[in-house]
């Protein structure tokens, strides 16, 4: 199945990565090469095989619902691009 420029633009939007029109051709070319490699696996019959999500058959541990961490938001916000009144600032979302 061949990828198109529309696919590239669609997934770039989903991934929230700006791809300039002049880059899209090159991205398409390289992704198509990689999907050429990936397509090899589609020829193999996997009927009845259980998907393997994880290297060990783990079940997630449960723990008591207690506060385990201290509030460190000041420390964590020292590396934020823009902060005001302990809040992370982003462009206006709701008019």
């Amino acid at each position: 199945m061949a990828l198109t420029l529309d696919d590239v633009n669609r997934i770039a939007h989903l991934a929230r990565i700006e791809v300039e029109p002049h880059e899209a051709e090159q991205v398409l070319l390289q992704l198509s090469g990689i999907f050429g490699l990936i397509e090899e696996m589609r020829a193999v019959n996997t009927d009845g095989v259980e998907p393997m999500a994880h290297a060990q058959d783990l079940t997630l541990r449960l723990r008591a619902d207690e506060v385990a961490d201290t509030d460190q938001h000041r420390l964590f916000q020292t590396i934020a691009p823009q902060v005001e009144n302990d809040l992370y600032l982003v462009p206006k979302v709701i008019e």
Binding site: L3, D7, V8, I11, A12, H13, L14, A15, R16, I17, E18, V19, V27, Q30, L31, G33, I34, F35, G36, L37, I38, E39, E40, M41, R42, V44, T46, V49, E50, P51, M52, A53, H54, A55, Q56, L58, L60, R61, R63, Q72, L75, F76, T78, I79, A80, P81, Q82, Y88, V90, P91, K92, V93
Partner: protein, 487 residues
């Protein structure tokens, strides 16, 4: 001091014939001088390192030291270390100073070890040559025109060039074993779940695992003793009894069965690599090991399967880099979505963007079953091949990499060729097994060849035993690149 192992340094430090300040100063001087040639480090902080060395000397004076106390280690720049810039090789995190310690760093700190610096790496650990780093490529100490492998290329080069006695790395598809092979040092990726990934920047969470680089198998065992163990902060960390990974080093290996998969010795491997690996296996036969042929028929599918699963997981893990809480934010944008898109387009390099796009595609509506679920089914077949093979053998051996180190720029423009250089290592991550690479000679152009050992789950001690016995009988691991004596 140049060629002292961790074991030897520990003896000198405990006997107070050397101080940590002397040892740390010696290696930092090399990092800041000779080290520049290889571009192996992203961050060096001499004052911080020496202050840790002084603290270690106090412990040693009080007789409170342990094996790693006072020894300088380099850490891959994927591990958060409080107060250290932690970049993951990316512009996205080029100003990120970690507010906390990764579990691995915490363990080294508790042991009184010294952080000698943070090593260069492929951006977000995505690469096999260390060319995708925002901080420039790392050069191979055996030939500076060649790559050191990746993604933990800085750590491997630092150990090979004797800039540090040992280092840490991470391995998602071969990122410890392949650079270890290409630079002629030892590296082990433990069983998935043995080392906590808390504070280790995530790439593909069902595959990522941390491990050590050193010059001997014995040193790897000593480091693993510090690195391994349960940590509740990583949901995949396994609750197991504490192991002493040095316990079997001296055991005889007579009678152990080495599985040789025909797929590892087929057309794809360069003849000089095959020759060196054959010679290594002959050496193991001399040590009394038996060899049996095994089959891994689905191994050829591991590269396509990996390039669905790892990008899928990466696209999810890397969605956190949005320019809001930390990391790069674009200087100009029109609205929130534009801020995300521009910050990510500017902050990530080409390979990282490529993998996020692949991952986004294979997880998107209408393609999930055809790619992602299909790859997960094949993953089970690949893992099952190993389970079958281990009914006939105790350990699997083969080449780590199909060739010796290639030149910088040789594969950089062709992602598919680059991906295929991990053909022998990826299947091990998919199965979650422990894998290791040790030096096993040199190829036609005098570049190192690595022998890969693959063990059954939790068989690290046996792999280290085999490697240690091999290193008692051979001297490949003590060979050193030329011209590195002077700092």
């Amino acid at each position: 001091m140049l060629n002292f192992t961790i074991k030897q340094l520990a003896v000198e430090l405990a006997a107070r014939r050397l101080s940590s300040v002397e040892v740390t100063g010696f290696f930092i001087k090399r990092i800041k001088g000779l080290g520049k040639v290889f571009n192996a480090f992203i961050s060096v902080d001499e004052e911080r390192s020496l202050s840790a060395a002084r603290a270690a000397d106090v412990l040693l004076r009080q007789g409170k030291g342990c094996t790693l106390t006072g020894i300088p280690f380099a850490h891959k720049d994927i591990f958060c270390a409080q107060g250290w810039r932690t970049t993951c090789g990316s512009k996205m995190l080029s100003n990120f100073v970690a507010p906390y310690d990764a579990h691995v760093i915490e363990r080294f700190n508790t042991a009184g070890a010294v952080i000698a610096g943070k090593t260069n790496m492929d951006e977000f650990a995505m690469g096999s040559s260390n060319e995708t780093s925002y901080f420039g490529p790392v050069r191979n100490p055996w030939n500076t025109a060649a790559v050191p492998g990746g993604s933990s290329g800085g750590s491997a080069a630092a150990v090979a060039a004797r800039l540090v006695p040992a280092a840490t790395g991470t391995d998602t598809g071969g990122s410890i074993r392949q650079p270890a092979a290409l630079t002629g040092v030892c590296g082990i990726k433990p069983t998935y779940g043995v080392v906590s990934r808390y504070g280790m920047i995530a790439f593909a969470s069902s595959l990522d695992q941390a491990g050590p680089f050193a010059r001997t198998a014995e040193d790897l065992a000593l480091m693993l003793n510090t690195m391994a163990g349960f940590d509740a902060r990583d949901s995949t960390s396994l609750e197991r009894k504490t192991e002493d990974y040095t316990r079997d080093l001296s055991k005889p290996v007579r009678g152990l069965r080495i599985g040789l998969p025909s797929e590892f010795f087929a057309d794809g491997v360069a003849s000089d690599v095959a020759r060196a690996v054959d010679a290594a296996i002959t050496e193991f036969r001399k040590l009394g090991c038996e060899t049996v042929e095994v089959r891994l028929p689905n191994m050829k599918l591991s590269v396509p399967v990996y390039y669905v699963l790892a990008p899928a997981e990466a696209s999810s893990n890397l969605s956190r880099y949005d320019g809001v809480r930390y990391g790069h934010r674009a200087p100009e944008y029109v609205d929130l979505v534009d801020m995300y898109k521009k910050s990510r387009a500017q902050g990530f390099g080409a390979e990282v963007k490529r993998r996020i796009l692949i991952g986004t595609y294979v997880l998107s509506h209408g393609y999930y079953d055809a790619y992602y679920i299909k790859a997960q089914k094949l993953r089970r077949l690949i893992a099952q091949d190993f389970t079958d093979a281990f009914t006939k053998c105790d350990v699997i051996m083969g080449p780590t990499s199909p060739s010796t180190a290639f030149n910088i720029g040789e594969k950089a423009g062709d992602p598919v060729q680059m991906y295929l250089s991990d053909i022998y290592t990826i299947a091990v991550n998919l199965a979650g097994l422990p894998g290791m690479s040790i030096p096993a000679g040199f190829g036609d152009t005098n570049l190192p060849v690595g022998l890969q050992l693959i063990g059954n789950y939790f068989d690290e001690a046996r792999m280290l035993n085999l490697a240690h016995q091999y290193q008692q009988a051979t001297d490949w691991h003590v060979r050193m690149p030329e011209g590195l004596e002077e700092p």
